[in-house]
């Protein structure tokens, strides 16, 4: 194995691990808001490493593919916004939180609106 293949394999292993972690989190956690943590952070992190490994693999062949880096940049910029929108829409459409929730500061803000929609 050449050096570049070892670096690529390392990145691939990290990326695949975090992608799998994200999948386990999405299936194991108990409410939507916690699942957004797993889906938003870990899958973005895993995908960044997978695309970096692809970028590194093509460097010794003399190909600098900027499109791969652009894909990383787009996902990196849009993942927090996607997580925010999913969370907000879930709360506004009245998805219940899990049973050992200790704190809910948003309840007063949406009290009137949620009662209206449930009537």
């Amino acid at each position: 194995m050449t050096t570049i293949e070892i670096i690529t394999s390392l990145f691939l292993a990290v990326g695949a691990f975090f992608t799998f972690l994200s999948a386990v989190g999405v299936i194991r956690l108990r409410d939507v808001y916690s699942r957004v943590h797993a889906a938003g952070k870990s899958s973005t992190f895993g995908m960044i490493f997978l695309m970096l490994s692809t970028f590194v693999y093509f460097i010794p062949k003399g190909i600098f593919n900027i499109k791969i880096l652009l894909a990383i940049l787009f996902v990196f910029m849009t993942a927090p916004l996607g997580a925010l929108l999913i969370n907000r829409s879930a709360y506004r459409s009245g998805v219940a939180m899990e049973k050992n929730t200790v704190q809910d500061d948003l309840k007063e803000v949406y009290k009137d609106e949620l009662q209206e929609s449930s009537e």
């Binding site: 972690l21 386990v24 808001y33 952070k41």
Partner: protein, 160 residues
């Protein structure tokens, strides 16, 4: 106007990368397409900040803060997801902020989403309070202090 020209050059360079051809003709064509895009989106480009005030070094520091926080957040996720008892205590915490322009609040919300165990959820109507969903809140005062001390300060360094 300086911001528009900068964005236009950025779109032209992006067009060159997408076409994978680095000739002046491609650049000119990309610049023309950039003029069209900026004309169509002129209603959304109301973001005003002074380019001369933005400090490059602080911006680089902010970017590295993003990357480091993302890595820490994922190590934290490993602990939460692979914990066999699943006894974390989630909650929604309201955090007041000193930042007032839209760019700064957007940056803060994005930064919160990438920190360990927190995702920003909603804003109050006057844009002064951010509601944060945390996957584990043993002590909410400490969490508020953490956000005030590290992220708000880093963003204020870049913008002011």
């Amino acid at each position: 106007m300086a911001l528009q020209i900068l964005l236009n050059i950025l779109i032209a360079v992006l067009w060159m990368f997408l076409q994978s051809s680095f000739t002046p003709a491609t650049f000119v064509f990309g610049y023309l397409i950039g003029i069209l895009i900026l004309y169509l989106m002129r209603k959304f480009l109301i973001v005003k900040f002074d380019l001369r005030k933005v400090r490059i070094w602080a911006l680089v520091k902010l970017f590295f803060l993003f990357v480091v926080e993302l890595a820490k957040a994922n190590i934290d996720m490993v602990k939460v997801v692979l914990n066999p008892r699943m006894d974390h205590q989630p909650g929604i915490v309201a955090v007041r902020t000193k930042l007032n322009t839209e760019v700064e609040i957007t940056l803060l919300a994005a930064l919160i989403s990438l920190t360990p165990g927190t995702v920003s959820m909603d804003f109050s109507p006057d844009n002064k309070t951010i509601y944060i969903h945390a996957i584990d809140v043993p002590d909410k005062e400490e969490m508020r202090k953490d956000i005030h001390n590290s992220f708000e300060r880093a963003i204020l360094e870049v913008m002011r």
